[in-house]
Symmetry: none
Subunit: 195 residues, 4 copies
């Protein structure tokens, strides 16, 4: 019986998410309205909040899997052997994350979970990102003086830096890729040490 109800719950939840996806496809993330979601899903407004704490939680649930899809692709593909390959591989992810200012903000806000229990889909993708990037460096033609994890975190830092610049009036003449490349080159293939 519990299984039966769970199924119904899952169906309703799926209907709500499907409705939201459809709306996003039509008008984008920022323009999504809860009212419209429940209207399309054919549920009561109260039902929405039974399933999702708030609108942002739904966004987390929609954006997270999209990021994951890109990460799946990255994971399925070969590890990049050059900076150009790497930036090329990262671009789809960057494009998704910067498709709307609103989306980038949601991602940043959810990238760090407030509590361990609250690690949502987006926060999880940040962990996966590190893992995937690190795998690239396990056996790659890049620097090896530091751990793969550290390199991965650095890539993440630069990707965010480059994306943030996208929304800055001063820098948007350069593409994310153009900004990212020199960072990664300097980070992953340093020519020489210091003094």
């Amino acid at each position: 019986m519990a299984r039966a109800t769970q199924k119904r719950t899952l169906e309703t939840r799926a209907r709500l998410i499907a409705a939201a996806e459809a709306i996003v496809a039509e008008v984008g993330f920022e323009a999504l309205r809860v009212e419209e979601v429940v209207l399309r899903a054919g549920t009561a407004k109260g039902t929405f909040f039974v399933h999702f704490k708030d609108k942002d939680t739904l966004m987390d649930l929609i954006i997270g899997p999209r990021i994951d899809a890109h990460l799946d692709a990255l994971q399925a593909g070969p590890a990049p052997r050059t900076i150009e390959e790497m930036t090329g591989a990262l671009m789809p992810l960057c494009d998704l994350m910067t498709c709307e200012r609103y989306v980038f903000d949601v991602i940043l806000r959810y990238s760090g979970a407030a509590g361990v229990a609250e690690i949502g889909p987006i926060a999880s993708t940040f962990g996966r990102q590190i893992e995937i990037f690190a795998q690239w460096f396990d056996d790659a033609p890049f620097r090896r003086d530091v751990t793969a994890d550290l390199l991965a975190e650095g890539v993440q830092a630069f990707v965010i830096q480059a994306m943030a610049a996208q929304f800055c009036a001063l820098h948007n003449s350069q593409s994310i890729r153009e900004r990212l490349e020199p960072y990664l080159r300097a980070w992953l293939t340093p020519a020489a040490g210091g003094t």
Copy 2:
């Protein structure tokens, strides 16, 4: 008479800022309400918007100088010669920027900016940051294979990365400084190149 009017205007503006500062001191940045500011300043709500384009402008005006004060200190001091000195020097700035999640978010929104005239106080500090960091690298025991500006931007990226982790339950067992150090070491004193 123009001078007299200007004086009164400046006084009103000063009262508003003072009120805002007082509120920030009491309840923090996020909890600041325009309503409360004008109440304390003894002006009408509309007056607020005569003086500041919007609430963010006021925030900018309050946060910006605080960052600048730290940058002044950095500029007045000697260029750090070691990673430890550098992280030590950066900590006060990091503490300010992470005093509230809200403050970090506001600052992040400007993180890509790099100093042009019509840019606001916070954005300007990002430009200054780059300049100051870059000066550190003009004649320093750190890597010299890339431009000082690029190194500076990298430092900024890593500082942000380390601060962001602060708001993440998963990572906040480590201090910002503990997280920042390996980043900067790997960024500024790479032991060797790749293939």
Copy 3:
């Protein structure tokens, strides 16, 4: 200037109340919706809550004056000289107060002000009621062994008792007037004392 704004405020407020009155006239008190009020008044929803703490406060403001109108009539007319005259005089007031279950509930809820500062229109009418009833007894063919105020409070108690019975499934075969009459007769023209 303050006067000018106050005038505007008064006008908006009047528009809201007028809209509410119109709605009440059409669909009754209980069916009044805030949404509909602002729609008719041509104001934003937020404006409603600028003027009235909540929907009930508006109800207080609409019902109170209606009660007052009846009290004005009572005050303007001659003091009743018989129980029949008195119940007859009281009926319009009773009819208003029991026109809807919802109205009776609102009146009861607002009849006692929680704080002196919060004495609303309905609460005031309860005070006036006592005053008016008491005036009836200053020079009337009713008992004189107790104060007019006490008699007045008794009348109020019996009126409420009779009205409450109206909403009780068991008693609504009798009219309010039929129930009220024996109470008032016994209260105002006791034939004899006790032992």
Copy 4:
């Protein structure tokens, strides 16, 4: 088997009531939530409504017996011979009925009722009240010019009037008893008639 089922049913019902009583003891009547009741009783929400038509029915079931307990005491005791004795006897009942504004409102809603079979516990107590009060007057040192039932209903009206004043900031300097006494004196021992 029918008996066994009935036993389980009664146990569930008892668990629900016990849970409700516990909640009332902790947070009062008004703050009781069906959600919390079923949580404590360990049943599903729907089960609540299998046992009780609605929430009010449960309230009725909890408040009614409490009133009845006081009426039992009144019935067991001697009929009051003086106004002081009467108000003294009535106080415990008044205290219960005014323990919360919400409780008073619930009770008021039934105040006009006078005992018929399908009526709920609270309504029944109003019937009992009248009966008990009426018995007091069957052979008592109070007025005899009207029926005992009418006197009883009057007492009820005055008790309610006095209790209502309790919730009014303007009147609550006086205790219920202080307010009730002059009412009952005037009602039960009128010194003289009118014209």
